[in-house]
Symmetry: C2
Subunit: 244 residues, 2 copies
DNA sequence: CGAAAGTTTTGGACTGACCAAATTGGGGAG
DNA sequence: CTCCCCAATTTGGTCAGTCCAAAACTTTCG
Protein backbone atom coordinates (compact mmCIF):
# COMPACT_ATOMS: atom_id res chain seq x y z
CA UNK A 1 0.00 0.00 0.00
CA UNK A 2 1.71 3.17 1.16
CA UNK A 3 -0.53 5.32 -0.90
CA UNK A 4 2.28 7.82 -1.34
CA UNK A 5 3.53 6.08 -4.42
CA UNK A 6 2.81 9.11 -6.50
CA UNK A 7 2.32 12.63 -5.24
CA UNK A 8 0.09 14.05 -7.87
CA UNK A 9 -0.05 17.54 -6.49
CA UNK A 10 3.57 18.47 -6.87
CA UNK A 11 3.79 18.01 -10.59
CA UNK A 12 1.78 19.96 -13.07
CA UNK A 13 4.13 20.95 -15.82
CA UNK A 14 2.01 19.84 -18.76
CA UNK A 15 -1.66 20.48 -19.36
CA UNK A 16 -3.13 17.46 -17.61
CA UNK A 17 -5.42 15.86 -20.08
CA UNK A 18 -7.24 12.70 -19.24
CA UNK A 19 -6.05 10.98 -16.11
CA UNK A 20 -6.56 7.62 -17.70
CA UNK A 21 -4.19 8.50 -20.49
CA UNK A 22 -1.28 8.47 -18.12
CA UNK A 23 -2.21 5.00 -17.00
CA UNK A 24 -2.78 3.89 -20.55
CA UNK A 25 0.67 4.99 -21.44
CA UNK A 26 2.25 3.31 -18.46
CA UNK A 27 0.53 0.04 -19.09
CA UNK A 28 1.32 0.30 -22.75
CA UNK A 29 4.97 0.68 -21.98
CA UNK A 30 4.89 -2.30 -19.71
CA UNK A 31 3.29 -4.37 -22.40
CA UNK A 32 5.80 -3.31 -24.99
CA UNK A 33 8.74 -3.72 -22.68
CA UNK A 34 7.60 -7.16 -21.73
CA UNK A 35 7.03 -6.32 -18.09
CA UNK A 36 3.51 -7.51 -18.72
CA UNK A 37 3.75 -10.74 -20.63
CA UNK A 38 2.02 -11.50 -23.85
CA UNK A 39 -1.04 -13.69 -23.49
CA UNK A 40 -1.23 -13.36 -19.75
CA UNK A 41 -4.16 -11.77 -17.97
CA UNK A 42 -3.96 -8.21 -16.72
CA UNK A 43 -3.90 -7.73 -12.94
CA UNK A 44 -7.26 -7.11 -11.39
CA UNK A 45 -8.74 -3.66 -11.54
CA UNK A 46 -8.52 -3.26 -7.81
CA UNK A 47 -4.91 -4.19 -8.02
CA UNK A 48 -4.27 -1.67 -10.76
CA UNK A 49 -5.99 1.11 -8.89
CA UNK A 50 -3.56 0.59 -6.09
CA UNK A 51 -0.52 0.50 -8.32
CA UNK A 52 -1.50 3.70 -10.04
CA UNK A 53 -3.27 5.13 -7.05
CA UNK A 54 -6.28 6.00 -9.10
CA UNK A 55 -9.95 5.39 -8.78
CA UNK A 56 -11.49 2.36 -10.34
CA UNK A 57 -13.30 4.58 -12.79
CA UNK A 58 -10.06 5.76 -14.23
CA UNK A 59 -8.45 2.36 -14.25
CA UNK A 60 -11.48 0.97 -15.97
CA UNK A 61 -11.37 3.69 -18.57
CA UNK A 62 -7.72 3.03 -19.20
CA UNK A 63 -8.37 -0.66 -19.65
CA UNK A 64 -11.17 0.11 -22.08
CA UNK A 65 -8.89 2.37 -24.09
CA UNK A 66 -6.16 -0.23 -24.24
CA UNK A 67 -8.70 -2.79 -25.32
CA UNK A 68 -9.88 -0.44 -28.03
CA UNK A 69 -6.36 -0.16 -29.27
CA UNK A 70 -6.04 -3.89 -29.37
CA UNK A 71 -3.39 -4.13 -26.71
CA UNK A 72 -5.82 -6.00 -24.52
CA UNK A 73 -8.41 -8.51 -25.50
CA UNK A 74 -11.32 -7.96 -23.16
CA UNK A 75 -14.06 -10.54 -23.17
CA UNK A 76 -17.14 -9.42 -21.25
CA UNK A 77 -16.73 -11.03 -17.89
CA UNK A 78 -13.18 -12.26 -18.02
CA UNK A 79 -9.81 -10.86 -17.25
CA UNK A 80 -8.38 -8.80 -20.09
CA UNK A 81 -5.62 -10.65 -21.88
CA UNK A 82 -2.46 -8.84 -22.83
CA UNK A 83 -1.69 -8.70 -26.52
CA UNK A 84 1.57 -7.39 -27.81
CA UNK A 85 0.79 -5.33 -30.90
CA UNK A 86 1.59 -6.39 -34.42
CA UNK A 87 0.32 -5.42 -37.81
CA UNK A 88 -2.48 -7.88 -37.32
CA UNK A 89 -3.53 -6.07 -34.17
CA UNK A 90 -3.68 -2.88 -36.14
CA UNK A 91 -5.88 -4.38 -38.79
CA UNK A 92 -8.13 -5.84 -36.15
CA UNK A 93 -8.90 -2.49 -34.62
CA UNK A 94 -10.23 -1.15 -37.89
CA UNK A 95 -12.40 -4.18 -38.35
CA UNK A 96 -15.52 -2.71 -36.86
CA UNK A 97 -15.49 0.40 -38.98
CA UNK A 98 -14.62 -1.45 -42.14
CA UNK A 99 -17.48 -3.75 -41.41
CA UNK A 100 -19.76 -0.74 -41.44
CA UNK A 101 -18.56 0.42 -44.79
CA UNK A 102 -18.83 -2.99 -46.31
CA UNK A 103 -22.55 -2.96 -45.87
CA UNK A 104 -22.77 -0.48 -48.67
CA UNK A 105 -21.62 -1.89 -51.95
CA UNK A 106 -19.74 1.28 -52.69
CA UNK A 107 -17.37 0.55 -49.84
CA UNK A 108 -17.16 -3.13 -50.58
CA UNK A 109 -16.27 -2.49 -54.18
CA UNK A 110 -13.60 0.00 -53.21
CA UNK A 111 -12.09 -2.56 -50.94
CA UNK A 112 -12.26 -5.24 -53.56
CA UNK A 113 -10.68 -3.02 -56.16
CA UNK A 114 -7.88 -2.20 -53.79
CA UNK A 115 -7.33 -5.90 -53.43
CA UNK A 116 -7.14 -6.31 -57.16
CA UNK A 117 -4.65 -3.49 -57.25
CA UNK A 118 -2.48 -5.09 -54.61
CA UNK A 119 -2.53 -8.54 -56.08
CA UNK A 120 -1.71 -7.21 -59.49
CA UNK A 121 1.46 -5.83 -58.02
CA UNK A 122 2.09 -9.03 -56.17
CA UNK A 123 1.88 -11.29 -59.18
CA UNK A 124 4.02 -8.95 -61.23
CA UNK A 125 6.67 -9.06 -58.56
CA UNK A 126 6.28 -12.78 -58.26
CA UNK A 127 6.83 -13.13 -61.98
CA UNK A 128 9.98 -11.09 -61.87
CA UNK A 129 11.51 -12.13 -58.61
CA UNK A 130 9.94 -15.17 -57.05
CA UNK A 131 12.48 -17.52 -55.52
CA UNK A 132 12.53 -21.24 -56.03
CA UNK A 133 10.92 -21.68 -52.65
CA UNK A 134 8.18 -19.24 -53.50
CA UNK A 135 7.42 -21.14 -56.65
CA UNK A 136 7.50 -24.42 -54.80
CA UNK A 137 4.97 -23.07 -52.35
CA UNK A 138 2.78 -21.82 -55.12
CA UNK A 139 2.93 -25.20 -56.79
CA UNK A 140 1.98 -26.91 -53.60
CA UNK A 141 -0.92 -24.55 -52.96
CA UNK A 142 -2.02 -25.07 -56.50
CA UNK A 143 -1.99 -28.83 -56.13
CA UNK A 144 -4.04 -28.60 -52.95
CA UNK A 145 -6.43 -26.36 -54.77
CA UNK A 146 -6.86 -28.82 -57.59
CA UNK A 147 -7.39 -31.67 -55.20
CA UNK A 148 -10.24 -29.75 -53.56
CA UNK A 149 -12.25 -29.02 -56.65
CA UNK A 150 -15.01 -31.38 -55.70
CA UNK A 151 -15.34 -30.02 -52.17
CA UNK A 152 -16.40 -26.42 -52.32
CA UNK A 153 -15.60 -25.70 -48.72
CA UNK A 154 -12.11 -27.05 -48.98
CA UNK A 155 -11.77 -25.32 -52.31
CA UNK A 156 -12.50 -21.99 -50.73
CA UNK A 157 -9.75 -22.54 -48.20
CA UNK A 158 -7.17 -23.67 -50.70
CA UNK A 159 -8.17 -20.78 -52.92
CA UNK A 160 -7.39 -18.39 -50.11
CA UNK A 161 -4.15 -20.17 -49.41
CA UNK A 162 -3.02 -19.87 -52.98
CA UNK A 163 -3.58 -16.16 -52.98
CA UNK A 164 -2.03 -16.04 -49.55
CA UNK A 165 1.23 -17.40 -50.85
CA UNK A 166 1.46 -14.41 -53.14
CA UNK A 167 1.32 -12.15 -50.10
CA UNK A 168 4.27 -13.87 -48.50
CA UNK A 169 6.60 -13.31 -51.42
CA UNK A 170 7.57 -9.71 -50.61
CA UNK A 171 8.62 -10.89 -47.15
CA UNK A 172 7.00 -7.82 -45.71
CA UNK A 173 4.87 -8.63 -42.66
CA UNK A 174 2.29 -6.11 -43.78
CA UNK A 175 1.22 -8.20 -46.72
CA UNK A 176 0.20 -11.40 -44.98
CA UNK A 177 -1.73 -9.21 -42.58
CA UNK A 178 -3.39 -7.48 -45.46
CA UNK A 179 -4.33 -10.81 -46.92
CA UNK A 180 -5.98 -12.02 -43.78
CA UNK A 181 -7.76 -8.70 -43.51
CA UNK A 182 -9.14 -8.98 -47.01
CA UNK A 183 -10.25 -12.53 -46.51
CA UNK A 184 -11.84 -12.07 -43.11
CA UNK A 185 -13.59 -8.89 -44.15
CA UNK A 186 -14.91 -10.19 -47.39
CA UNK A 187 -15.40 -13.75 -46.26
CA UNK A 188 -18.98 -13.51 -45.03
CA UNK A 189 -20.19 -12.35 -48.41
CA UNK A 190 -17.87 -14.62 -50.27
CA UNK A 191 -18.90 -17.73 -48.47
CA UNK A 192 -22.59 -17.20 -48.80
CA UNK A 193 -22.55 -17.99 -52.45
CA UNK A 194 -20.11 -20.34 -53.83
CA UNK A 195 -20.33 -23.66 -55.12
CA UNK A 196 -20.31 -25.79 -58.13
CA UNK A 197 -17.33 -27.96 -59.01
CA UNK A 198 -17.82 -26.40 -62.39
CA UNK A 199 -17.06 -22.97 -60.99
CA UNK A 200 -14.21 -24.32 -58.93
CA UNK A 201 -12.65 -25.89 -61.96
CA UNK A 202 -12.64 -22.53 -63.68
CA UNK A 203 -11.08 -20.87 -60.69
CA UNK A 204 -8.43 -23.51 -60.56
CA UNK A 205 -7.71 -22.95 -64.22
CA UNK A 206 -7.19 -19.29 -63.46
CA UNK A 207 -4.82 -20.11 -60.66
CA UNK A 208 -2.90 -22.37 -62.93
CA UNK A 209 -2.69 -19.65 -65.53
CA UNK A 210 -1.29 -17.28 -62.94
CA UNK A 211 1.18 -19.84 -61.75
CA UNK A 212 2.28 -20.63 -65.26
CA UNK A 213 2.81 -16.99 -66.08
CA UNK A 214 4.90 -16.58 -62.97
CA UNK A 215 6.92 -19.62 -63.91
CA UNK A 216 7.53 -18.15 -67.32
CA UNK A 217 8.54 -14.86 -65.75
CA UNK A 218 5.88 -13.00 -67.63
CA UNK A 219 4.52 -10.20 -65.44
CA UNK A 220 2.01 -8.95 -67.95
CA UNK A 221 0.48 -12.36 -68.49
CA UNK A 222 0.41 -13.00 -64.76
CA UNK A 223 -1.26 -9.70 -64.11
CA UNK A 224 -3.86 -10.24 -66.75
CA UNK A 225 -4.68 -13.75 -65.59
CA UNK A 226 -5.07 -12.42 -62.08
CA UNK A 227 -7.33 -9.59 -63.13
CA UNK A 228 -9.70 -11.73 -65.12
CA UNK A 229 -9.74 -14.25 -62.32
CA UNK A 230 -10.70 -11.75 -59.68
CA UNK A 231 -13.22 -10.03 -61.89
CA UNK A 232 -15.01 -13.28 -62.47
CA UNK A 233 -15.14 -13.88 -58.74
CA UNK A 234 -16.43 -10.41 -58.10
CA UNK A 235 -19.15 -10.67 -60.69
CA UNK A 236 -20.73 -13.35 -58.58
CA UNK A 237 -19.98 -11.86 -55.18
CA UNK A 238 -20.45 -8.15 -55.73
CA UNK A 239 -24.22 -8.29 -56.11
CA UNK A 240 -24.55 -9.78 -52.63
CA UNK A 241 -23.78 -6.43 -51.09
CA UNK A 242 -26.44 -3.94 -50.20
CA UNK A 243 -27.55 -1.85 -53.17
CA UNK A 244 -27.11 1.59 -51.76
CA UNK B 1 -37.36 5.27 -37.14
CA UNK B 2 -40.21 3.28 -35.79
CA UNK B 3 -37.82 0.89 -34.25
CA UNK B 4 -38.64 1.93 -30.75
CA UNK B 5 -36.77 -1.08 -29.37
CA UNK B 6 -37.41 -2.31 -25.93
CA UNK B 7 -36.98 -0.06 -22.93
CA UNK B 8 -34.87 -2.61 -21.14
CA UNK B 9 -36.51 -3.00 -17.80
CA UNK B 10 -35.37 -5.38 -15.15
CA UNK B 11 -34.47 -8.64 -16.79
CA UNK B 12 -31.84 -11.18 -16.07
CA UNK B 13 -32.82 -14.01 -18.31
CA UNK B 14 -30.81 -13.27 -21.43
CA UNK B 15 -27.04 -13.58 -21.47
CA UNK B 16 -26.67 -9.84 -21.67
CA UNK B 17 -23.15 -9.00 -22.59
CA UNK B 18 -21.95 -5.51 -21.94
CA UNK B 19 -24.74 -3.09 -21.25
CA UNK B 20 -22.87 -0.33 -23.00
CA UNK B 21 -22.77 -2.31 -26.20
CA UNK B 22 -26.47 -1.94 -26.67
CA UNK B 23 -26.12 1.81 -26.38
CA UNK B 24 -23.13 1.82 -28.64
CA UNK B 25 -25.13 0.09 -31.27
CA UNK B 26 -28.07 2.39 -30.94
CA UNK B 27 -25.99 5.50 -31.17
CA UNK B 28 -24.06 4.03 -34.04
CA UNK B 29 -27.26 3.44 -35.94
CA UNK B 30 -28.36 6.97 -35.31
CA UNK B 31 -25.09 8.29 -36.60
CA UNK B 32 -25.23 6.17 -39.72
CA UNK B 33 -28.87 6.92 -40.36
CA UNK B 34 -28.26 10.60 -39.98
CA UNK B 35 -30.49 10.99 -36.95
CA UNK B 36 -27.37 12.36 -35.31
CA UNK B 37 -25.81 14.80 -37.70
CA UNK B 38 -22.25 14.74 -38.85
CA UNK B 39 -20.02 17.31 -37.17
CA UNK B 40 -22.51 18.17 -34.49
CA UNK B 41 -21.85 17.59 -30.81
CA UNK B 42 -23.32 14.61 -29.04
CA UNK B 43 -26.03 15.33 -26.46
CA UNK B 44 -24.78 15.67 -22.93
CA UNK B 45 -24.09 12.54 -20.95
CA UNK B 46 -26.86 13.32 -18.55
CA UNK B 47 -29.17 13.67 -21.47
CA UNK B 48 -28.10 10.36 -22.93
CA UNK B 49 -28.51 8.53 -19.67
CA UNK B 50 -32.11 9.63 -19.68
CA UNK B 51 -32.71 8.61 -23.28
CA UNK B 52 -31.27 5.18 -22.73
CA UNK B 53 -32.28 4.95 -19.11
CA UNK B 54 -28.83 3.89 -18.08
CA UNK B 55 -26.34 5.05 -15.55
CA UNK B 56 -23.76 7.60 -16.45
CA UNK B 57 -21.10 4.96 -16.07
CA UNK B 58 -22.56 2.96 -18.90
CA UNK B 59 -23.25 5.94 -21.09
CA UNK B 60 -19.73 7.09 -20.55
CA UNK B 61 -18.36 3.70 -21.49
CA UNK B 62 -20.45 3.66 -24.62
CA UNK B 63 -19.17 7.07 -25.61
CA UNK B 64 -15.63 5.95 -25.02
CA UNK B 65 -16.15 2.91 -27.21
CA UNK B 66 -17.64 4.98 -30.00
CA UNK B 67 -14.76 7.37 -29.73
CA UNK B 68 -12.36 4.48 -29.96
CA UNK B 69 -14.03 3.39 -33.15
CA UNK B 70 -13.71 6.85 -34.55
CA UNK B 71 -17.42 7.55 -34.72
CA UNK B 72 -16.94 10.30 -32.18
CA UNK B 73 -14.10 12.68 -31.82
CA UNK B 74 -13.67 13.28 -28.11
CA UNK B 75 -11.36 16.03 -27.05
CA UNK B 76 -10.63 15.98 -23.33
CA UNK B 77 -13.02 18.51 -21.91
CA UNK B 78 -15.30 19.15 -24.82
CA UNK B 79 -18.43 17.65 -26.17
CA UNK B 80 -17.79 14.65 -28.39
CA UNK B 81 -18.29 15.48 -32.03
CA UNK B 82 -20.13 13.10 -34.28
CA UNK B 83 -18.14 11.73 -37.17
CA UNK B 84 -19.74 9.70 -39.87
CA UNK B 85 -17.29 6.95 -40.71
CA UNK B 86 -15.23 6.95 -43.85
CA UNK B 87 -12.04 5.24 -44.89
CA UNK B 88 -10.15 8.07 -43.28
CA UNK B 89 -11.84 7.32 -39.99
CA UNK B 90 -10.72 3.75 -40.27
CA UNK B 91 -7.15 4.71 -40.88
CA UNK B 92 -7.25 7.10 -37.98
CA UNK B 93 -8.17 4.45 -35.51
CA UNK B 94 -5.10 2.41 -36.35
CA UNK B 95 -2.91 5.42 -35.97
CA UNK B 96 -1.93 4.82 -32.40
CA UNK B 97 -0.84 1.25 -32.93
CA UNK B 98 0.98 2.03 -36.11
CA UNK B 99 2.74 4.78 -34.27
CA UNK B 100 4.01 2.19 -31.83
CA UNK B 101 5.40 0.00 -34.52
CA UNK B 102 7.04 2.89 -36.26
CA UNK B 103 9.19 3.68 -33.30
CA UNK B 104 10.65 0.30 -33.40
CA UNK B 105 12.72 -1.69 -35.78
CA UNK B 106 11.69 -2.71 -39.22
CA UNK B 107 8.12 -1.62 -38.66
CA UNK B 108 8.91 1.67 -40.31
CA UNK B 109 10.74 0.03 -43.12
CA UNK B 110 7.91 -2.39 -43.73
CA UNK B 111 5.54 0.48 -43.96
CA UNK B 112 7.79 2.37 -46.28
CA UNK B 113 8.27 -0.63 -48.52
CA UNK B 114 4.55 -1.10 -48.71
CA UNK B 115 4.32 2.46 -49.85
CA UNK B 116 6.84 1.86 -52.55
CA UNK B 117 4.85 -1.15 -53.61
CA UNK B 118 1.66 0.84 -53.82
CA UNK B 119 3.13 3.77 -55.66
CA UNK B 120 4.80 1.48 -58.13
CA UNK B 121 1.38 0.19 -59.03
CA UNK B 122 0.01 3.68 -59.11
CA UNK B 123 2.54 5.06 -61.54
CA UNK B 124 2.20 2.04 -63.78
CA UNK B 125 -1.53 2.56 -63.91
CA UNK B 126 -1.03 6.25 -64.43
CA UNK B 127 1.23 5.53 -67.36
CA UNK B 128 -1.30 3.26 -68.97
CA UNK B 129 -4.54 4.97 -68.18
CA UNK B 130 -4.18 8.47 -66.84
CA UNK B 131 -6.75 10.86 -68.23
CA UNK B 132 -5.99 14.30 -69.59
CA UNK B 133 -7.20 15.78 -66.35
CA UNK B 134 -4.97 13.51 -64.34
CA UNK B 135 -2.02 14.56 -66.38
CA UNK B 136 -2.98 18.19 -66.10
CA UNK B 137 -3.09 17.83 -62.34
CA UNK B 138 0.25 16.14 -62.29
CA UNK B 139 1.69 18.90 -64.39
CA UNK B 140 0.32 21.50 -62.08
CA UNK B 141 1.63 19.74 -59.00
CA UNK B 142 4.96 19.41 -60.69
CA UNK B 143 5.10 23.10 -61.47
CA UNK B 144 4.27 23.97 -57.88
CA UNK B 145 6.99 21.59 -56.80
CA UNK B 146 9.54 23.25 -59.00
CA UNK B 147 8.56 26.67 -57.80
CA UNK B 148 9.19 25.61 -54.22
CA UNK B 149 12.68 24.29 -54.65
CA UNK B 150 14.21 27.13 -52.68
CA UNK B 151 11.80 26.82 -49.80
CA UNK B 152 12.22 23.44 -48.18
CA UNK B 153 9.04 23.65 -46.19
CA UNK B 154 6.96 24.45 -49.20
CA UNK B 155 8.86 21.87 -51.14
CA UNK B 156 7.88 19.18 -48.72
CA UNK B 157 4.24 20.07 -49.14
CA UNK B 158 4.32 20.19 -52.88
CA UNK B 159 6.25 16.95 -52.88
CA UNK B 160 3.46 15.31 -50.94
CA UNK B 161 0.91 16.85 -53.24
CA UNK B 162 2.60 15.49 -56.30
CA UNK B 163 2.55 11.99 -54.91
CA UNK B 164 -0.96 12.61 -53.72
CA UNK B 165 -2.18 13.20 -57.24
CA UNK B 166 -1.08 9.71 -58.10
CA UNK B 167 -3.37 8.36 -55.40
CA UNK B 168 -6.36 10.11 -56.89
CA UNK B 169 -6.02 8.54 -60.30
CA UNK B 170 -7.68 5.20 -59.50
CA UNK B 171 -10.72 7.13 -58.26
CA UNK B 172 -10.94 4.75 -55.36
CA UNK B 173 -11.48 6.58 -52.07
CA UNK B 174 -9.18 4.16 -50.33
CA UNK B 175 -6.13 5.49 -52.06
CA UNK B 176 -6.27 9.15 -51.05
CA UNK B 177 -6.85 7.88 -47.55
CA UNK B 178 -3.85 5.65 -47.81
CA UNK B 179 -1.80 8.56 -49.00
CA UNK B 180 -2.72 10.73 -46.08
CA UNK B 181 -2.02 7.81 -43.78
CA UNK B 182 1.44 7.33 -45.17
CA UNK B 183 2.26 10.98 -45.00
CA UNK B 184 0.95 11.61 -41.54
CA UNK B 185 2.54 8.50 -40.14
CA UNK B 186 5.90 9.02 -41.69
CA UNK B 187 5.84 12.79 -41.54
CA UNK B 188 7.47 13.31 -38.14
CA UNK B 189 10.54 11.43 -39.22
CA UNK B 190 10.47 12.85 -42.67
CA UNK B 191 10.27 16.42 -41.59
CA UNK B 192 13.07 16.23 -39.11
CA UNK B 193 15.63 15.99 -41.84
CA UNK B 194 15.26 17.56 -45.15
CA UNK B 195 16.60 20.55 -46.54
CA UNK B 196 18.98 21.75 -49.09
CA UNK B 197 17.78 23.25 -52.35
CA UNK B 198 20.32 20.87 -53.77
CA UNK B 199 18.40 17.90 -52.48
CA UNK B 200 15.11 19.42 -53.50
CA UNK B 201 16.33 19.93 -57.01
CA UNK B 202 17.17 16.28 -57.26
CA UNK B 203 13.77 15.31 -55.95
CA UNK B 204 12.13 17.56 -58.43
CA UNK B 205 14.14 15.96 -61.21
CA UNK B 206 12.82 12.59 -60.08
CA UNK B 207 9.28 13.86 -60.14
CA UNK B 208 9.79 15.21 -63.59
CA UNK B 209 11.16 11.88 -64.74
CA UNK B 210 8.08 10.15 -63.38
CA UNK B 211 5.83 12.65 -65.01
CA UNK B 212 7.60 12.34 -68.31
CA UNK B 213 7.39 8.59 -68.26
CA UNK B 214 3.69 8.79 -67.59
CA UNK B 215 3.28 11.23 -70.42
CA UNK B 216 5.08 8.85 -72.71
CA UNK B 217 2.89 6.01 -71.50
CA UNK B 218 5.87 4.01 -70.39
CA UNK B 219 4.94 2.07 -67.24
CA UNK B 220 8.34 0.48 -66.79
CA UNK B 221 10.18 3.77 -66.97
CA UNK B 222 7.67 5.38 -64.64
CA UNK B 223 8.02 2.59 -62.15
CA UNK B 224 11.76 2.69 -62.22
CA UNK B 225 11.91 6.43 -61.80
CA UNK B 226 9.55 6.14 -58.87
CA UNK B 227 11.57 3.42 -57.21
CA UNK B 228 14.86 5.20 -57.44
CA UNK B 229 13.22 8.38 -56.23
CA UNK B 230 11.74 6.78 -53.15
CA UNK B 231 14.87 4.84 -52.38
CA UNK B 232 16.90 8.00 -52.37
CA UNK B 233 14.44 9.58 -50.00
CA UNK B 234 14.49 6.58 -47.74
CA UNK B 235 18.23 6.44 -47.60
CA UNK B 236 18.18 9.75 -45.81
CA UNK B 237 15.11 9.16 -43.71
CA UNK B 238 15.39 5.51 -42.76
CA UNK B 239 18.31 5.98 -40.40
CA UNK B 240 16.27 8.36 -38.26
CA UNK B 241 14.25 5.47 -36.93
CA UNK B 242 15.23 3.55 -33.85
CA UNK B 243 17.92 1.00 -34.59
CA UNK B 244 16.50 -2.14 -33.12
C1' DC C 1 -7.06 -38.46 -7.28
C1' DG C 2 -10.71 -36.09 -9.29
C1' DA C 3 -15.28 -34.03 -9.00
C1' DA C 4 -18.64 -31.42 -6.39
C1' DA C 5 -19.64 -27.93 -3.12
C1' DG C 6 -18.32 -23.81 -0.87
C1' DT C 7 -15.70 -19.40 -0.39
C1' DT C 8 -13.30 -15.49 -2.14
C1' DT C 9 -12.22 -12.53 -5.78
C1' DT C 10 -13.33 -9.85 -9.58
C1' DG C 11 -15.67 -7.37 -13.39
C1' DG C 12 -20.11 -4.90 -14.49
C1' DA C 13 -23.22 -1.64 -13.11
C1' DC C 14 -25.39 2.06 -10.14
C1' DT C 15 -25.73 6.19 -7.05
C1' DG C 16 -24.49 10.49 -5.36
C1' DA C 17 -21.26 13.90 -4.94
C1' DC C 18 -17.46 17.29 -6.06
C1' DC C 19 -14.61 20.17 -8.97
C1' DA C 20 -12.96 22.77 -12.68
C1' DA C 21 -13.57 23.95 -17.22
C1' DA C 22 -16.94 25.00 -20.91
C1' DT C 23 -21.15 27.06 -22.22
C1' DT C 24 -24.63 30.24 -21.76
C1' DG C 25 -27.10 34.56 -20.60
C1' DG C 26 -27.24 39.11 -19.35
C1' DG C 27 -26.14 43.30 -18.59
C1' DG C 28 -23.05 47.39 -19.20
C1' DA C 29 -19.77 49.95 -21.98
C1' DG C 30 -19.01 51.87 -26.47
C1' DC D 1 -28.12 48.65 -31.18
C1' DT D 2 -23.90 45.99 -31.07
C1' DC D 3 -20.19 43.83 -28.83
C1' DC D 4 -17.56 42.31 -25.03
C1' DC D 5 -16.95 40.79 -20.37
C1' DC D 6 -18.37 38.51 -16.25
C1' DA D 7 -21.58 35.73 -13.37
C1' DA D 8 -24.59 31.59 -13.32
C1' DT D 9 -25.32 27.28 -15.02
C1' DT D 10 -24.20 23.11 -17.44
C1' DT D 11 -21.28 19.52 -18.33
C1' DG D 12 -17.24 16.31 -18.50
C1' DG D 13 -13.78 14.11 -15.37
C1' DT D 14 -12.96 11.88 -11.14
C1' DC D 15 -13.78 9.81 -6.82
C1' DA D 16 -15.80 6.78 -3.05
C1' DG D 17 -18.83 3.33 -1.73
C1' DT D 18 -22.24 -0.37 -2.73
C1' DC D 19 -24.49 -4.38 -4.93
C1' DC D 20 -24.58 -8.37 -7.76
C1' DA D 21 -23.60 -12.38 -10.36
C1' DA D 22 -20.15 -14.83 -12.60
C1' DA D 23 -15.13 -16.39 -12.37
C1' DA D 24 -11.52 -18.12 -9.95
C1' DC D 25 -9.74 -20.38 -6.23
C1' DT D 26 -10.24 -23.91 -1.98
C1' DT D 27 -11.69 -27.37 0.36
C1' DT D 28 -14.04 -31.38 1.06
C1' DC D 29 -15.85 -35.75 -0.10
C1' DG D 30 -16.71 -39.90 -2.92
Amino acid sequence: MTKASRPKATENTAPDGRASDAIVERIQEQILSGALLHNTPLPSERDLMERFSASRTVVREAVATLAGRGLLEAKPRYRPIIRKPGFDTALNTVGSIVQLMLQHQQGAESLFLSRVFVERGLVRDAATSATRENIAELKEALAANEAAIMDSDAFYDTDMDFHGVLYTIPENPIFPTLHSAYTTWLAPHWRRMKGSPEFNRKSYASHLAIYTAILERDPDAAEEALVTHLNVSWSSVGPTFAPE
